[in-house]
């Protein structure tokens, strides 16, 4: 076969196969590279570049898909949890205890989301607990119960969602959260599975 034909065949294969691979690997590449540039602390993950003008294209695209209109870290830190403390996926048919010390922030909240990243429909219209309303123990600790069936105390209904995720928002957080090394070890709420139906 003549060389120009070989070039043409190679170019067509590269364009078709490479283009297809490039197009269909956007989401996995996005998730992988965003995870790599983020910080994990127990069940919670965050990325200090989210919302910032310094964000790389991967973080910017991930935020556009999963947290559009997020404030930059100088104002708010957003932590997300898709897994519990044991590294197992948070599921709607399991009961969880979210407990810990109140974070150091001017105002904070914990919100549950369904797999589609929207609020979980429930008759109580309870989607979150915030520092405005959450009652703390005398030592500054709190417990939130995430479950399908009602619980005494601070209950966060799981509704009919199958896979769930949680967001912890810290508005005007303390300086301890701004050191990347500290951020890996600073105390954040634990997500403990109590059992499944």
């Amino acid at each position: 076969m003549k060389t120009p034909y070989k070039f043409l065949i190679a170019a067509v294969i590269a364009l078709v196969v490479g283009g297809t691979i490039g197009y269909f690997t956007v989401e996995p590449v996005l998730n992988m590279l965003t995870d790599m540039s983020g910080v994990q602390n127990g069940a919670w993950g965050t990325n200090l570049a989210a919302g910032s003008t310094a964000a790389n294209p991967y973080v910017r695209a991930w935020v556009a898909e999963h947290g559009l209109l997020a404030l930059s870290q100088s104002e708010t830190l957003y932590f997300h949890a898709y897994f519990d403390d044991n590294g197992e996926r948070i599921l709607g048919n399991c009961d969880y205890r979210i407990e810990g010390k109140a974070p150091d922030a001017r105002w904070w909240s914990i919100t549950a989301y369904a797999e589609d990243d929207f609020l979980i429909p429930n008759d109580q219209r309870r989607y979150s607990w915030s520092s405005s309303e959450l009652k703390l123990d005398p030592d500054g600790h709190f417990i939130i119960y995430l479950s399908k069936t009602p619980k005494e105390g601070n209950w966060l209904p799981a509704g009919d969602a199958e896979g769930l995720s949680l967001s912890l928002r810290l508005y005007n957080p303390g300086s301890v959260y701004y050191d990347k090394e500290n951020l890996k070890t600073v105390e954040l709420p634990h997500i403990i599975k109590e059992g499944c139906q």
């Binding site: 070989k6 065949i9 190679a10 170019a11 294969i13 590269a14 364009l15 196969v17 490479g18 283009g19 691979i21 490039g22 197009y23 690997t25 956007v26 590449v29 996005l30 919302g51 910032s52 003008t53 964000a55 294209p57 991967y58 910017r60 695209a61 935020v63 556009a64 898909e65 999963h66 947290g67 559009l68 209109l69 997020a70 404030l71 930059s72 100088s74 104002e75 001017r106 105002w107 909240s109 919100t111 989301y113 589609d116 990243d117 929207f118 609020l119 979980i120 429909p121 429930n122 219209r125 989607y127 979150s128 915030s130 405005s132 309303e133 967001s167 928002r169 508005y171 005007n172």
Partner: protein, 183 residues
């Protein structure tokens, strides 16, 4: 035989290069594409006017991962022709006003503690505009893109506080500086 191996190697290398380029271009497009869809299809409000949203519930599905504990006031800004003057009353608890460019960057945030006055006074100008603040209390913001979103977040401190907060929310104003008055 060796020539065939060379051709296969070249094809493989070219395939990888094309895959990386296509992948990267797609990722670069995502923020602008999502902002465009959000502004033209999900919100589709007139530009430079405040929209005062009620507290977020599961029925509201315009923006992913919304906070149900915040009252949102939203404005699709367009400073391609005139500077935009905004004012908003600030309640006693956490409150902030922030701007988002077409690439989703949060290019400014001013919270209740940082505001120079109450009501806050903000002028948003385009890249090629200038504005001189004569009061010393106006926050002059240069928008990196002519269009984008401005968002006010107000913490809902409790159900009983909600009517008062919504009243404060609705005191926000907007005006294009120098634009001809429309009949």
């Amino acid at each position: 035989m060796k020539k065939w191996i060379l051709w296969i190697g070249l094809t493989l290398a070219a395939t990888i290069v094309v895959a990386v380029i296509v992948n990267f271009v797609q990722i670069l497009r995502i923020p602008n594409d999502i902002m465009n869809v959000t502004m033209t299809e999900r919100f589709n409000y007139p530009s430079n006017q405040w929209v005062f949203a009620p507290p977020t519930t599961h029925e509201r599905r315009a923006i992913v991962r919304p906070s149900p504990d915040l009252l949102y006031s939203l404005l699709l800004y367009d400073v391609s022709e005139y500077p935009l003057h905004l004012t908003a009353s600030i309640p006693d608890n956490y409150w902030s006003i922030s701007g988002f460019a077409m690439n989703t960057d949060n290019f400014f945030t001013i919270n209740d503690k940082q505001a120079e006055s109450n009501p806050i006074d903000v002028v948003v100008i385009g890249n090629d505009m200038s504005y001189t603040d004569t009061t010393g209390k106006t926050h002059v913001i240069v928008a990196p893109t002519d269009t984008g979103i401005i968002l006010i977040r107000t913490v809902i401190t409790g159900k009983t506080d909600l009517p008062g907060l919504m009243q404060i929310q609705k005191q926000a104003t907007t005006e294009l500086i120098g634009a001809p008055v429309q009949d």
